[in-house]
Structure formats: C-alpha cells, structure tokens
Symmetry: D2
Subunit: 178 residues, 4 copies
Amino acid sequence: MSSPTETVPVWLPTDELAHVRERVPMVYVDAVPVRVDHLGRVERVGLLLTSRPDGTISRAVVSGRVLYGETIRESLWRHLAKDLGSEAEPQLPASPAPFTVVEYFPDPQRSGFTDPRQHAVSLAYVVPVEGHCEPSQEALDLTWVTPDEAVSEGVQQEMTGGQDRIVRLALAHAGRLP
Amino acid sequence: MSSPTETVPVWLPTDELAHVRERVPMVYVDAVPVRVDHLGRVERVGLLLTSRPDGTISRAVVSGRVLYGETIRESLWRHLAKDLGSEAEPQLPASPAPFTVVEYFPDPQRSGFTDPRQHAVSLAYVVPVEGHCEPSQEALDLTWVTPDEAVSEGVQQEMTGGQDRIVRLALAHAGRLP
Amino acid sequence: MSSPTETVPVWLPTDELAHVRERVPMVYVDAVPVRVDHLGRVERVGLLLTSRPDGTISRAVVSGRVLYGETIRESLWRHLAKDLGSEAEPQLPASPAPFTVVEYFPDPQRSGFTDPRQHAVSLAYVVPVEGHCEPSQEALDLTWVTPDEAVSEGVQQEMTGGQDRIVRLALAHAGRLP
Amino acid sequence: MSSPTETVPVWLPTDELAHVRERVPMVYVDAVPVRVDHLGRVERVGLLLTSRPDGTISRAVVSGRVLYGETIRESLWRHLAKDLGSEAEPQLPASPAPFTVVEYFPDPQRSGFTDPRQHAVSLAYVVPVEGHCEPSQEALDLTWVTPDEAVSEGVQQEMTGGQDRIVRLALAHAGRLP
C-alpha cells in the first residue's frame, strides 16, 4: 500500500539523534542472513565482522535503525543491501511477525542484550539470501558458517552484547540448533 | 533478568514528546484481550470504547506507548492494568514474539493503520485475561463479544484506524476467524 | 541430516490406506502458494481448480498426505511440484513451524474443516513461489488472485470444506488480510 | 465447535497399532511444561523422569499420541493431565500453531529425533502450568529446573532421543535460552 504521498524516511543530525535516544526507545531490525538448501533448511549463517556500539570489533548479524517514515520491510531491505552488497538477493519473509524481539539496554543486567548508546527494541528475522554477497561499507568481513560452527565456543566468543544469543535463537527457530 | 540498577521508565513532557514524534518511530504494544475456555480456545474478544487519536469515540483493543527503560512485558502489563482494571489477570504469552507487527502512519494510504500523531511500530499480542475486568481511566466501556460478533459489519464499523483489522488478524492467529 | 540409510517413503495400496484411515489421524501438509514482491509482501495467492474429497470441483490450495518415512519438507516439495509443475520454484520456509494447524474431520460440525474420508491433521504453510507454474496432473486450472479477490464472496464460494478459511488465515498471517 | 455428534476418540489394540505404525506417520503432541512469573517469563521447566521408547529411564517432556477423532487441544489436555496429575492447571495456548514440529524416525541419522517404534510427527508447545503438579501413572518423578539448569550438561545428558534439543528449542522460543 505504498502511495505517491508516502513519507520520505527522515535522517537525523547526530545531536538530534543523541537527544531523542535519551527519551524514547529506538526501533531496530536484526536480520540473521542464512543460506538454505532447496528444501529451505538452513545450511549456513552469515556473520559480519564489524565495529560494534560497545567499541569492539566483533562478529554480528545485520542490524540497524528504522527511520521515521520507513516501513519494517523497507528498513530490512536497506540494511541488508548496505551490509551484504547490492548483488545480494534477500528473500524477506511473507509474514511481518519477527521470530523474536530483542530488547537492547545500556545496562547489561537488564536483558542480556546491550547497547551502550540507547534503549532499542529490535524485530529479529531469519532471512535466506541468494546471490553474491560481499561486505560493504562498515563491515570488514563476511563469513558463512555452519550451524555447528555458529554455536561453537570459538565463534560465540567473537560476538558481544548478546549477538551470540540472537544467532542461537535464530537457529532454534529454524529447527537447526545443534 | 531485572536488577536493582534497572532503568526507571521515563515519562516525557508533552512538548518533548511532540518533538521526538516528528523524528523517530515510536514503539507501541497492542494487546487483544480474550476470554478462553479450558482448552485455550478463544470464546470472547474484549473491545474498549475509547477516545481515539483520530478524535473519534470508537471500539479499540488495548494499546499504548513503550517508555524509555521499560521492557515490552512491563509495558503490556501496565497498559492492560490501566485499561482493564487492577482485578484483571492477564496471562502474558511465554514467547516475546508478537503475532503481527502493526505499522501506524499519519498517512492513511501507507499501511492501512493510521495514527495522525505519529509513526508507530506496534508489537501485537493476543492476551487471555482472567479475573474481573472493568474499564478504567480513559475507557468509557468494555464489551466482550464472540468471534462472530467481532467480525460482524456492525462491530467492525465501530472501529477506526485499522483496529478492525487487528481484531481479524488476532482471531486468525488464534484459529478463530469465522 | 539425510543419510544413506534413510527410509524410503512408503505408498499404501488403496485397501490398506482405507484400513488405517479408520484407526489413526493422517498427517497432511497444506501449502498456500503466493507471489511476493521484492520486499516479501504477498501480491497474489495461487488457487487450484481441482476435484475435492467431497466430490465437488472446487478452488483449493496445495494439499496432500505425508508418507511414512518422508519429512515434512520433502512432502511439501513433492506436493508443490506435483500441483504447480516442475518449473515452479517454491521457497520453503526456514522455520519448520506451520502458521496454523488445520484439523480435518468427517463430521462438518467438529472444526469447520471437513474431509469425508478421514481425520487429518495438516500443517499449513505460506509458500512464496517463483518460476513458471502450470497445473499438473489432477488440477484442472491454476489462478493467481489478489488478496482482495481471494476474500471476495465470489471466490470464497468456489471453495469447500474450509479451504476459504485456510486462505483467509494465510493472508492474515502475512499481514495481508484486507 | 464441539457437537453432540463428535467422534469418540478411538483406542487401538496393540497389534492393530503395530500394524498402522509401519504404514503411516503417527500424529503426536509434545508439551514443555513451564512455570512463568506474572509477566509471562519462563522461570522453570518441568522435566519428567520416565521410561522412554528406547528402553532408557530418562528425563523428558510431556508427549503422547493423538487419537482418531481427538483434537490437538483435547490431546494436549489429556496427556498433560495424565503426566502432571489432575490438580495441574495447564494454560493451553490461544494459537493452534506449535512453536516447532518434531519429526521422530526410527533411524537416528534422519532428523536427530528418534523413536524406535515409529515415524511420528509431533506438534510441540510451551505450556505454562499453574496449580499443584505431581507425576502420575508412568512418570517416576517430576522436577522443575531453571533455564540455566535445563541446558546444563548434567541435565542434558539425562535426556535421550533428542528430548534435550526440544527443551533448548522451547527455551529459545520463550526468549530464555541462556
């Protein structure tokens, strides 16, 4: 139901964004990119190597803010294209319901998901991706790991702020948690 | 995972709220209160008669803003207690995933869900409620209708801004859409 | 997790099938084929014109029995290929959870979903389909209708045994119930 | 939609059951009993100590066959009452959709979920339970463990045939997988 009068998504200057971040929760989307076989079974999980809000360089899934005037689907598409490159072909889910809701708080004790900058409510989706993917812009690297590798101690320790848990929840949703 | 250091939810003065509402999407929750039988089947849907953002007096489900520092579950609890009274006993779902996401825009063409005040992203839940319910504070009335009545033309026309559609989506999720 | 020792799906002779059908519920899958846009929004629903268990020629979604030894994903794939042709490219969902469970009973009063032959428990999925589709084998026709058309009185009356309700539940799950 | 003409669930003699078990997949339900706080968060998971189809005495969730003529909700209720006692008050979910589908095969390589007796397709639900619970009939014991304990190596090793994985998938669905 887009229309000629649809609102143009609004970017905020840095100081404005800092101002609102102290007053209301931000809306975010998290997308766990996966490669699936012809029967839809998850074979690989895509993990970015990227600079995180907590100052670390860590493995993470695709994540970003939903802008004023932007739909959830448009935001998912924008962040996936930004992080996986323009040749990636994400298959956005037919249902708008996320598989889980991730609540990020500055306080690490609050929910186990942390973001020192803000309180954010993130809708999390598993997104099968076809086509060639390459890390673009801020991501330093993109690796595709098997479900077993994704939950291995080595890989889980490379994720901070609860990103490791998002990956496990996503694999469980897909019936592929080892 | 609550803690002694948990953030106190932040209320905003009216002008502050107006300011941020023009800059970022707001996080909301929608709760469709239902009465269920001992097997969990929805028998009744609770509809409030209330003053809506569009200026009408209309039938609606429980809905409200998530405050800075407040979890989704705390917010659901607060809005259900406010609208159904302190003797209501809502059974919040074990899973944090909403059954659908409702995107409200000022522009009625954008998604079919409208709120003239803001762009809001609302997590929608079906919430079985036990105990005595009575409309409190802003609600003028609370009626429990059957699934058949809830989707009847008469009742649907008493709902504005897409509230009728939320009720149909909730009934479908519960397998009770006639 | 297929393996060299995997069980070969077992077909039953007609009299054997009749025998077990009177003793245990059958496992079925229902797949609602959809065309989606690049953002994953449902634009069309695929309806077969086919001979139904109740003896009518009616519109219906893809539906079929899960064989002994066959996984749900293999069964979905087999029935979609059989009904939509070998050039159809179904995108099976990453999650094994159906959006609803349809319980068919011989008695039309029991659940509203009827099958005069048996008690069947069917796992229902919304399946985006790419590629060329053509009705194969038993289906007489395949039509792609918009969500509005799918719930119109004319189309709904062409569906029997609760198939119209499955289509509405699927559209609701996809956030596209008008 | 029960009715006076509703089919009476059909029990099968042992040899009849053995016969159909070799011909079609059986319909099962799995219920993971949980204790939740007033906000719906899972605090404890209920694990039975019981004699399993593989001949071991192991920890397991509530599980059982759906009879001919029985609805999924009736079957869930029957098995929960049988295993947790008549004073248990299970809160069956409003939605008929399971959080996952568990496919049991005799071959342990097929899906990771095994049942030497049969191919079974099981609809799995997380079920909050109130009231007094005590193991009845075949169960030797019932223990309530925290999410952390449930996924600890000690407890996970007491579960066979994939029961440990069902518990992890259930906790993930509830957002409580550590």
